[in-house]
């Protein structure tokens, strides 16, 4: 009895202390670990160029890249190109996600539809998507429509596959719980199927978005007057490596932010997940 009371008295007191002691260091040591390598390389290269070990003409040092970045941002060029690229990705991603989700859900749900259209879609998936470019240009012209279509095709396949796989692998036992509570149709979808496929759906969206960013570059290579991809081509043709790297950095930053948006928006709906956490990440 006294032992129980003792441990009960100790625990609440001990816990907060442990938490505050850990939080400052623990919260930042994880992300900081990942920064060591890129920062180290950047600083190392900067010092190497400053020390005259390299002229840094083909591989510009961080300071030059930053200057180019600042220059592009000051003139509003960077914003204009980034906005154009982002608009294409958003449009293509939106179309790809809607079509991929619908077809994935239907083929996952119905064996008949799956047998009917999945083989064709799998065959189309086997085509390297860049191979579509000439055809899309012939069909849709050289302006936005062909670019957005190419991105949508890139986004479609991972979303389609992810949704179909997720719907097909919903646990029969969980669906049976829904049936036992007399759910059917829309209620079954809303209360059982949607929450069950959500974790896999988020992953499908993220890989779709990744491909969307990949394909926007391909789309902009095929002839664009604005966009981050245009900056890349322009930098190559005019021999401005700093501009190329600046555009690459812009891609990385915007791509990462859009990925964070998906993760951040869906995170509240996925708190229930019983996920693997490595011991170091816990607490």
């Amino acid at each position: 009895m006294s032992l129980v009371r003792m441990s009960a008295a100790i625990e609440p007191a001990a816990q907060p202390k442990q938490k505050t002691g850990k939080s400052v260091l623990a919260r930042w040591s994880g992300p900081a670990l990942g920064l060591i390598l890129p920062l180290g390389l950047a600083v190392g290269w900067e010092l190497a160029v400053r020390a005259g070990l390299s002229n840094g003409r083909l591989v510009p040092p961080p300071s030059v890249i930053y200057a180019t970045f600042a220059e592009l941002a000051k003139t509003g060029e960077l914003q204009r190109h980034a906005a154009a690229t982002l608009a294409r990705v958003v449009a293509g991603f939106g179309i790809g996600v809607v079509v991929g989700t619908l077809l994935g859900a239907i083929t996952g749900y119905s064996m008949l539809v799956r047998r009917f259209i999945d083989p064709s879609l799998q065959a189309l998936r086997a085509i390297p998507s860049i191979a579509w470019v000439p055809l899309f240009i012939l069909w849709l012209g050289i302006f936005e429509a062909s670019k957005v279509t190419l991105i949508a095709v890139g986004v479609f396949f991972p979303v389609y596959l992810g949704v179909m796989g997720a719907v097909m692998s919903v646990d029969r036992k969980i669906v049976e719980v829904g049936r036992a509570f007399r759910l059917s149709g829309a209620k079954m979808v809303r209360r059982i199927l949607l929450p069950a496929v959500l974790p896999a759906y988020v992953i499908a969206l993220r890989s779709g978005l990744g491909l969307g960013w990949m394909f926007v570059v391909a789309a902009e290579f095929m002839g664009a007057s604005e966009g981050l991809g245009f900056l890349l081509v322009d930098g190559q043709q005019l021999g401005k490596p700093a501009q190329i790297v600046a555009a690459i950095v812009a891609f990385a930053v915007i791509g990462k932010i859009t990925d964070w948006l998906i993760v951040g928006i869906t995170a509240p709906f996925l708190r229930w997940e019983d996920r693997f956490k490595s011991p170091a990440a816990e607490g």
Binding site: K173, I174, E176, V177, R179, A180, F181, R182, R191, I192, P195, A196, L198, F269, R271, W272, E273, D274
Partner: protein
Amino acid sequence: MLTLEGVGKTYANGVHALDAVNLSVGPGEIVAIVGGSGCGKSTLLRAISGLDTPSQGRVLLDGEKVTKPHEKIGIIFQEPRLLPWLTVAGNVGFGLEDRPKAERDARVAEALTRVGLSEKANMWPRELSGGQAQRVAIARALVPRPEVLLLDEPFSALDAFTRVDLQDHLLGLWADTRPILILVTHDVDEAVVLADRIMVMRPRPGRIFDEIAADLPRPRERQSSAFDRVRRHVMAALDRSLKPVAPSDANEAAAFWW
């Protein structure tokens, strides 16, 4: 009143899982179904629940034919089968979606208190132990106040202590509203502790082989000699049910083919 009239099941692959089961269960009665594996216990329970439809015969609840899951019939599976995206309280209230929120909350809170998990209401299922999760499943099945509660080997995945604890717990909950309980189990002790009537089934095809009345006073003392007598009775019936079919049985005609 739950009535089974010649309920049989032949699966699409030709397996004759269940052959013409007749059974009548009165209000508040607890019936245990025991038998070796593959004797059609679960098939029978699924036919009663409406999750599967029988190929022959029919299931009647108060004279009404059951062809699909019925609001007066609840089921508890071998695994808790909680929905991982709902909290404990959300799972318990799963069958009350169409009720006003205030009523739902009150009934969920009451049920959670009744199974002793009210302080876990806002936890996720992943944070529960196996026994706790099965208690939540019991609460979820009881909250809509079913007239018939079906249990498919509900405690077989739990350790012996938790199992005994939950058996007593189930009886306590049953006493509140006294629904019909139909319990499939392969644990003879469990059948004798809980049931008023024990149906022993025989496999290939599944059918009722023997019926044993367990008319012991409640609460039942697991160590009493009366308990042991019923248990031995059930064991003997189970033993006989698993023996090869004697010539005097259904194969009589076949034996005289020449």
